[in-house]
Amino acid sequence: MLMARVQGSVIATRKHPSFEGWRLLICQPLSASGEPEGSPQVALDPHGAGLHQRVIISSDGAATRLAVGDPKSPARWLVVGIVDEPEGGGRLAS
């Protein structure tokens, strides 16, 4: 699992049927110090995470297949939780 920050979303009409109806969030993985680290991943979001919120994303395909309800889905990354933020949301320090 990775800590990541939500930086946007992706719109795709033509996609694998198991992705139908899911929000696709652009999640920038963060290092221990909170800096962006590596390339953004696009994750399915069942929780309704907001822009610039920190989330935990998991690469467990088995859990994602269960979430989308399709045992043959190629989906991999899933937003598994939204990190608690101080009231007002937004970025912490910076």
Binding site: G8, R14, K15, H16, I26, S73, P74
Partner: protein, 98 residues
């Protein structure tokens, strides 16, 4: 999944039976730079290595696609298939606010 630009197609004259009839795309993955400069993308290939992905959607050169890497890429196939990257979305639009 990650996003990337389709930079070419790959055709195979010989392949193992499980992959016969497949369509293959050469993809240059997006880095953070590509998201930040979406309408003025960095020239040339991405800093991340390009890859070949199985394509069942019909992507073509210049398209932005979403692709999944890893074991999950083989899930849509009947039986064990040696595929570790597959396109899963033809991207229409990207909404990005860093």
């Amino acid at each position: 999944m990650r996003l990337g630009t389709v930079i070419g197609r790959v055709t195979l004259s010989q392949s193992i039976p499980a992959l016969k009839g497949g369509r293959w795309l050469l993809i240059s993955p997006f880095t953070t730079d590509h998201f930040q400069r979406r309408h003025d993308p960095p020239a040339g290939l991405s800093r991340d290595p390009s890859l070949v992905a199985y394509d069942a959607l019909g992507g073509s050169a210049g398209d932005t696609v979403g692709f999944v890497e890893g074991r999950e890429a083989a899930m849509p196939f009947q039986g064990p298939t040696p595929v570790d990257a597959i396109t899963v979305a033809l991207v229409d639009d990207v909404f990005y606010v860093p």
